[in-house]
């Protein structure tokens, strides 16, 4: 028998080797700590570098839609009832006599300066219009995603822990149904039930007519503005108006969130470290929420960012039904009035938000997952 000291020396790998990758563990090479932070930063920077390219692409797409797809872009912008002199002036103003690449260059220059053209319908600069309508959509989408997460995530986790049981089947069917129901039909049904039949919800719009214009605009988010003004009746009124469209919109994404959460959780609950956690004698609550859920946080954040962006899509239809004065309604009204500058401006802004959300998800992913290099 060897002495303890001898054994110690024999068993202990040399210092450097402890952190070096052993040949059998192929795959990701392990690195020392200081450089990991640097690598993480570099990954983020390379990701940021791709953003301008994507933005450039967005501009190409909107330019293409605005100037190449229509048979006569001038008519698309000024409308086909405009008198001839207006059309001619617009043609010159837009530089449509120039070759396409010069037109595109000018368009790009305008975008960079925040100039999205003038809306025919409101005769305001499109940028100004969007700034006015965006907060309402932001308010609606944010409240909706909060509701969707608060219900959808626990529902998905619950179903995953009872895989194959009744609860799981019910949640699965519910998710498929939620996925299949058009948001505008849901909105109409909701109006029918809560507004017409039960009479517990206020009608369409963002606030009751007698509160209109009573509160100063600070943020454009009505629930916050009314709090700033300290006008509680107006706050409750705004909240009541918000509840229905936000609930409809939340249902729209709830199904997707629950479904993804369930799928992620199922994969994690089958993994080895969960067996380890059970073998340690931990409670099932702790295993589910601390261990398995801890591992799905990161992919879940990406899903949430995508869902949030997808809410903008649902918002177009929801806002139309509930007469919610947001970006979606601005977009559809402009569409019906063939107000191309407004349509393209709103489309571009939505694209920008999409890219920003993706970037945010990526950032959070890099911050939260210890494995990201």
């Amino acid at each position: 028998m060897k002495s303890d000291g001898e054994l110690q020396a024999e068993l202990m790998p040399p210092e450097g080797e402890q952190h070096a990758a052993s040949p059998s563990t192929t795959g990701v090479a392990r690195r020392a700590r200081p450089s990991a932070a640097w690598l993480r930063l570099r990954g983020l920077l390379s990701n940021l570098a791709s953003v301008p390219i994507t933005l450039f692409g967005l501009a190409v797409v909107t330019f293409f839609i605005g100037r190449v797809v229509p048979i006569d872009p001038v008519l698309a912008i000024v409308g086909d009832r405009a008198p001839q002199d207006v059309v001619d002036r617009a043609r010159l103003e837009l530089g449509l006599d120039q070759p396409l690449y010069i037109q595109f260059w000018r368009y790009l220059g305008q975008i960079v300066h925040g100039d999205l053209g003038r809306s025919v319908m409101t005769s305001n600069p499109v940028t100004q219009d969007i700034a006015r309508f965006l907060p309402a959509t932001f308010e609606l989408a944010t409240v909706a995603i909060i509701i969707a997460v608060l219900i959808g995530v626990p529902l998905g986790v619950w179903a995953a822990t009872r895989q194959g049981k009744f609860v799981d089947q019910a949640v699965r069917l519910f998710c498929l149904a939620g996925h299949s129901l058009p948001v505008f039909v849901l909105g109409l049904l909701s109006l029918l039930l809560f507004y017409a039949t039960l009479g517990i919800a206020p009608g369409p719009g963002r606030q009751s007519i007698y509160f209109d214009g009573m509160v100063d605009v600070h943020t454009g988010i009505l629930t916050i503005d009314t709090i700033i003004a300290g006008d509680w009746p107006a706050f409750w009124d705004a909240l009541a108006h918000l509840a229905q469209p936000a609930g409809v919109l939340a249902f729209f994404s709830l199904a997707y969130i629950a479904r993804m959460t369930r799928a992620f959780m199922l994969a994690e609950l089958k993994s080895e470290y969960v067996t380890t956690a059970r073998a340690k004698g931990l409670s099932s609550t702790r295993i589910v929420w601390r261990h398995a859920f801890g591992n799905i946080m990161v992919p879940l954040i990406t899903v949430l960012a995508m869902t949030y962006a997808g809410l903008l899509e649902g918002a177009v239809l929801t806002e139309t039904i509930f007469s919610w004065p947001g970006l979606g309604q601005y977009l559809t009204v402009s569409l019906l009035n063939a107000d191309m500058n407004a349509v393209l401006g709103a489309t571009l802004v939505v694209g920008l938000i999409y890219v920003a959300l993706n970037l945010l998800a990526d950032l959070l992913y890099r911050l939260m997952d210890p494995r990201v290099k």
Partner: protein, 282 residues
Amino acid sequence: MTQPLVEIQNLRVEFPSSSGGYNQAVRGVSMSLGREKLGIVGESGSGKSVTGRALMRLLPEAARVKADKLVFDGVNVLSASERTMRGLRGGRIGLILQDPKYSLNPVMTIGAQIAEAWRAHNKGGKKEALEAALNLLEQVRIRDPRRVLDSYPHEVSGGMGQRVMIAMMLAPNPDMLIADEPTSALDASVQAEILRLIDDLVSARGMGLMLISHDLPLVARFCDRVAVMYAGQVMETLPAQDLHHAEHAYTRGLLDCMPHLSEKRARLPVLNRDPKWLEPRS
């Protein structure tokens, strides 16, 4: 040895198959274990891992477990409450899994994972738990325990990960350790170290060890007794030093399949499976 730690009699485990029936994974296994080192050897699918997990009641809910007797230190595992089982898991029986790359939680620090195991079975605060974790990392002969404590599993090597796994399972001071292929995922050079570590710790603490492996010579070297399993049944159980005098044809076949340094052979023989081995044994 007064009373065996583990008594298993006629254990049967079935899993639902995709065609609607049941597949038998373990078909009437009996064995007992005191504070000794028992090796369980068999091919993959022979039911050795399932036997170990059945003892901790860690099998998926869909599995059907039946036995005449499945007892750990007086506790009937088949009928014990979930609460009792939670005390048993980790607290009395530790389980070491194959590959630390998968068996450690990738998003928790090593320190947090060991401390959690300690706190599940000991009264004490976070600080005490972390101190205990540090102490345990020293016991598994990690030279820089403080740094490892704050590391994530992907930042340490496979051998180190397995030491962490051992430390974690020793944290609540169990009476028995089940090591399920603890070295198969590791380099050959590290394997011996890990096994010796387990051996030393088990001997020093007077624990029982169930070493599950497909590596017959390795098990023979480290264990007191060896149980050879095939297709969900124990073919024979014999003292490790008598392995070379094994009587059962399957064990002999397994031993025969291995190359020897001392003799020269043109080609290794192929194991001839006798359908008689599959028949239920009394």
